[in-house]
Amino acid sequence: MVDFARVQKELQECNRDFEVSGIRVVPKSEANLAHLLGTIPGPLGTPYEGGTFKIDINLTDGYPFEPPKMKFVTKVWHPNISSQSGAICLDILKDQWSPALTLKTALLSIQALLSAPEPDDPQDAVVAQQYLREHHTFLGTARYWTEAFAMTSSLDVEEKVKKLVEMGFPETLVRSALDSVGGDENLALEKLCSG
């Protein structure tokens, strides 16, 4: 059973110092605290600067004695994050988890991972190769992905929703599709078309 009292406390604590950390965790629905959405700002001085990255958080029954399941919803170009699925390769989310860690500290660690990639222990081999061999290209791609996927302002979202609704999809479905793919219009369309 998830320790919801602790999750509740964590959320309060995390959102209290949002001003400082820029990290936010909100439940996807009020009814279920086991499914949350975290957002982290891209670290300064990296190609991810200026972006806001969404992370899907799923708490297993063993939480906090088991690590939370986290993956990027926003597409990221990073050696330790799958460019396809958003899966994160980070030891504290696996065998180095400790119950003294919280959602906030885990998200902070992910933020640190963004600024310090580990290409020798990659999650995405293609990105890692590029990071090691054509670093310049890597930086360009990462920057482009950040601008394309992580910098969607709310205005853009409304525009995309409008566009997709005009194509004949119901609005609620459009919104959830856009949400699940991190705001990418084409991916959302693909998702809507596939079912």
Partner: protein
């Protein structure tokens, strides 16, 4: 109403509390005016655990003198009565009865002194004089005013009892001015209690780093306990740390690197000590650990089973390894030199027969 017989008798304690089942057949007095038995028998036997806080009077049995009468009425009684019922004078205080019977039991049997209707005339003035003179001689035999010791004496300066000195720790007038041993004892226990209270207050504030709750305010009473790690000083509640260390290795976490380590500093600890109080110094931690180990050492090990079984923890087991006859298991460590010249301790040696 004041029959001499009643006067002799000590007031029934049950009656005093309003419930004596024996009623009229009770051998103790059911009279409010009868002197209550206020002497601490433990003190007379040599040791009273309550020390200066005891609500009974601490009078030594060896000296035959009466403690300071507790009320003015009693005092006047012993003075007014001497001629008519002279025989009862010396016995007006029950304290004297016990003291005397304890001191010279050979000459007077206690029962005779206490319950007999007549007492020999001759020795009375003598003992009365003795009692009065002794009173002024040795102030260490007088008990201190219990009201003052408890906080405030309503009689103030007019109180016939000695008022104790103020204890620096509990700020009550409970230090006997003439009993150095008792003073020291009180100050020691008082200081210890104060320290304990202080630690308890401090412990209330401490949060478990896993459930993020105050350990001593947890909803389930059984969980209001700390789990102290042997190697570091990070606080957890016993249920959280046990839960974490007991996680199944199937969850993908490494037993030695993650589960046995402190969730905060990742220092490896091999055991957890339950405690209702958190410590503030190394010595206090050591005390908690030692008393815990000592307690376990007094419990027979289930695995060892009086020698019938084998304990997987061997010589490092915290529980008692003793045989049925009470003899302890002998610990024999076999030291062997290994090829590097170091000494290794061998657990068990088995010989294998090869064909």
């Amino acid at each position: 109403m004041f029959s001499p017989f009643n006067f002799f008798r000590v007031q029934c304690k049950f009656f005093a509390h309003g419930a004596c089942l024996k009623g009229e057949h009770c051998e103790f007095s059911h009279d409010w005016k009868a002197a209550p038995n206020n002497i601490c028998t433990f003190y007379q036997k040599g040791m009273c655990a309550y020390g200066s806080r005891c609500r009974y009077e601490h009078v030594k049995p060896s000296r035959s003198h009466s403690p300071v009468p507790s009320s003015a009425a009693e005092l006047s009684f012993s003075v007014v009565q001497p001629s008519g019922t002279a025989g009862y004078d010396a016995c007006s205080s029950p304290a004297l009865i016990t003291e005397r019977s304890a001191a010279n039991g050979s000459s007077h049997t206690p029962s005779r002194l206490a319950w007999g209707e007549k007492v020999g005339h001759q020795d009375l003035p003598e003992s009365a004089v003795e009692a009065r003179s002794m009173k002024s001689v040795d102030p260490s035999d007088q008990s201190i005013c219990s009201f003052a010791a408890a906080g405030a004496c309503p009689r103030g300066n007019k109180c016939p009892h000695i008022h104790g000195d103020t204890c620096p720790t509990c700020a009550k007038q409970c230090l006997h001015p003439y009993r150095p041993q008792e003073r020291e004892e009180h100050m020691k226990t008082c200081e210890k209690m104060q320290k304990h209270l202080e630690a308890l207050r401090h412990s209330q504030e401490i949060e478990c780093s896993v459930c993020l709750e105050r350990v001593l305010s947890k909803p389930v009473a059984a969980e209001r306990k700390f789990g102290i790690l042997s190697e570091c000083d990070h606080p957890f509640c016993i249920s959280c740390i046990r839960n974490w260390r007991g996680s199944s290795p199937a969850s993908g976490l490494d037993i030695n690197a993650a589960l046995r380590a402190c969730p905060i500093c990742r220092k490896l600890s091999y055991f957890v000590i339950p405690s209702v109080i958190w410590y503030s110094s190394k010595e206090e931690k050591l005390e908690i650990v030692d008393s815990y180990k000592k307690k376990l050492k007094s419990i027979d090990c289930k695995h060892f089973d009086f020698g019938n079984g084998t304990c997987p923890f061997g010589t490092s087991c915290f529980y008692k390894h003793a045989y049925r006859d009470g003899t302890l298991e002998e610990v024999v460590l076999r030291h062997l030199g290994d090829e590097d010249g170091n000494t290794v301790i061998v657990k068990e040696i088995r010989f294998h027969l090869s064909n």
